[in-house]
């Protein structure tokens, strides 16, 4: 590999150009901690409340080091996306931001390298991945998008985002939307209860309003399942539980009817969806057996029934799956669907990464263009001034020839056209070279600056 030795004045010019470039090109940083790098016991210390995030934002922006900042704090990550035009070295700035974070989180004695620090285009790529849910614990989840939007708005309200972060976040929201539209990374449910609800919708239709749900077991799982079903339109569910008080409490919460465990068989024919979420002891008899289901189906005139067994040990007899017009899904079956859905989401990650790579490239291009734009405008202005001066001088000389006013105006327009065309042709090559991707971008930048902007 050959190296070119530069003379002292050349080096000075280069460093001057670099500092000018840094003025135009803000340094972008991302400092944070997430589930990828730290365990829960550390992470939970950095789950900042909205008020604390505001305090951190305030502290960061109140000094001159950070020009723009957004604090994104969720249960699985705390990330500060910030830009700086300060001449301070990057390492110093990053340590200072880390100190600010630990200070606000009131956590002392962190080991070296606790936070990860990303710069410039790597930070852009990371933000796009976070916004699209690719960096989330559950790949493709869309909650992060709302959290990121909230963080952005919080900073916007404080005046913590200007042109650069504004553009970056706008782009990240657009990329996230594109990924959710063009790929299936956000599709398919990943929780047992939502899969159960989707299953019921596949059988009974999108709106479950006309469906009667019977919940056996009013524990946490049962309540969660009922929440999912009620969100899909289920009304007045039947709730059965060993303890009648608890059944009544849950029934009241979901505006349903509490029934006793003994009356389950009698009320079974009413239910379109039967959810078993009771905790049985090993050896306990099942809550719904084959004969009860057969009787229920008979009195329902074969209208389909869906049995969702969320309990371990199982609440329903496994034999009922052989009955016509009955669908039985237990926890393992639902977990299989969840695993299948997760697999489908992961298959889509590759497509999503491709979209992100394209978006990062576009953003990089915009960033570079932002850097060269002032140079281009400067060069155009210089050339325009020279052109106008030369046209004026030529017109003065031509006046002495004794041309009429009409002839003079014709000559002036011809000269204008000629000079404009010359300037445009003279500048088009160097401007193109400046905009193009090249390995020696820095030298093209400096040469352009030296030759065309004076």
């Amino acid at each position: 590999m050959s190296t070119v030795r530069k003379s002292k004045p050349e080096l000075q010019a280069l460093s001057r150009a670099s500092s000018e470039r840094d003025k135009l090109w803000p340094k972008l940083f991302l400092t944070g901690v997430s589930h990828h790098t730290q365990p829960l016991e550390f992470r939970e210390k950095f789950g900042l409340s909205s008020a604390k995030s505001q305090v951190l934002l305030e502290r960061l922006l109140s000094t001159g080091y950070v020009s723009e900042a957004v604090v994104n704090s969720t249960c699985n990550r705390l990330e500060v996306i910030w830009s700086s035009q300060s001449p301070e070295p990057a390492h110093g700035l990053q340590s200072w931001v880390e100190e600010m974070i630990t200070d606000v989180a009131e956590f002392k004695g962190l080991p070296e390298g606790f936070f990860y620090n990303l710069r410039d285009i790597e930070a852009v790529r990371h933000l796009f991945r976070v916004a699209s849910g690719l960096d989330s614990m559950v790949v493709g989840e869309n909650q992060i998008m709302g959290q990121l939007k909230k963080a952005f708005e919080q900073s916007q309200a404080r005046g913590g985002v200007n042109g650069f972060l504004n553009r970056l976040f706008d782009k990240s929201f657009a990329v996230s939307k594109e990924i959710r539209t063009d790929t299936k990374v956000g599709e398919r449910s990943l929780s047992v209860c939502s899969v159960a609800r989707e299953l019921a919708q596949q059988i009974k239709g999108e709106n479950l309003k006309s469906c009667k749900v019977l919940l056996i077991g009013a524990g946490e799982t049962g309540r969660l399942a009922l929440t999912h079903f009620c969100s899909a339109g289920v009304e007045e569910p039947l709730v059965a539980n060993r303890s009648p008080e608890k059944a009544r409490e849950v029934a009241e919460r979901f505006k349903g009817e509490a029934i006793t465990l003994d009356s389950v068989s009698a009320r079974l024919p009413e239910a379109d969806i039967v959810i078993g979420a009771s905790t049985l002891e090993m050896g306990d008899p099942v809550l719904v057996g084959e004969s009860e289901t057969l009787a229920a189906i008979k009195s329902r005139k074969s209208e389909t029934q869906l049995y969702l067994d969320l309990g371990v040990p199982r609440n329903f007899s496994s034999k009922i799956e052989n009955i016509d017009d009955v669908f039985l899904y237990n926890v393992d079956h639902l977990q299989e669907v969840v695993a299948h859905n997760l697999g489908c989401r992961r298959d889509e990650v590759e497509n999503a990464e491709r979209i992100i790579a394209q978006a990062v490239k576009k953003f990089e291009k915009w960033w570079e263009l932002r850097l060269v734009e002032p140079l281009i405008y400067g060069a155009i202005e210089n050339f325009e001034a020279v052109r106008l001066g030369e046209v004026k001088r030529s017109m003065k000389r031509l006046k002495k020839v004794g041309l009429s006013n009409e002839q003079m105006s014709e000559v002036q327009s011809a000269l204008d056209r000629l000079s404009k065309s010359l300037v445009s042709r003279a500048l088009s090559g160097p401007i193109d070279a400046l905009k193009k991707d090249a390995d020696d971008k820095q030298s093209v930048f400096d040469t352009f600056r030296r030759f065309f902007t004076g």
């Binding site: 989707e198 596949q202 329902r300 074969s302 299948h340």
Partner: protein, 269 residues
Amino acid sequence: MNSFIHILALLGGVGYLMAATLYLRHFGRPVPRSANRYFAFACVFHFFSLFGMTWMAGGFQGFGLFTSGAALLLAVLFLSLKDAYRLNQLGAFTIPLVLGFFIFSGLVLHYPVQVDKGSGIGPALLAHISFMLIAISVFSLSAVLASGIIFKESQIRNRTWHKLTAKIPSIERLENLGNGFTYLGCASLLAGVGSGFYLSTGRRSIYGSADPLLLASALVLTVYLVILLSSRMTGLRGRKAAWLSMCGYILMVVSLAGANFIENLHVYR
């Protein structure tokens, strides 16, 4: 003129083929717009070719034209209902059926005409042909829905989740739609058989009121009525009802084809 009509028919066939290929290639994935565009263009070419052929033949007569008309009606019915009832994915089942009818109609196009031109067509014959056409296209769509039910129910029951499972309407929705089409089909078939019976008793059929096609159609009607009654009385539904509906449909296609194919079996003089 004749070759122009054949070119139109050829374009229609190519359009159906392109649409069927796209629908099958994107099975379980979003159907590209071009597939529906090819399908619609095919319908337009098909309509004009059918119109031209009917005009050339001096009336809507013969089994070829009848089958072609049924294919067109099925295609139009599907195109107009697919968005409203989210049936897009069932295009993979419908278009091959349309294409099959279309190709079959081409094969039997020059089959002897069963109606004596000299005696005129008249409103009764027109009603008979129209109602039978509606019945066959509506029952075709009902068969498509039945195949959707069988497919979806087996997927859910066997817990083998295909990407298509979530993309077609729920089992209950398919059942309700299928029942609706079966009612409509039964009404049309009843009207078709009624008008056919009127024609037969007018001594225009060589078998009189025992016209084989009418008997077969009455049998098909009985099967469909059994399905409808059973679903109301005993709660027959799901894949059992869907299989029965498929059987009824196959019986109808076979009886229609058979009665029209065997010479002098279904002739109005």
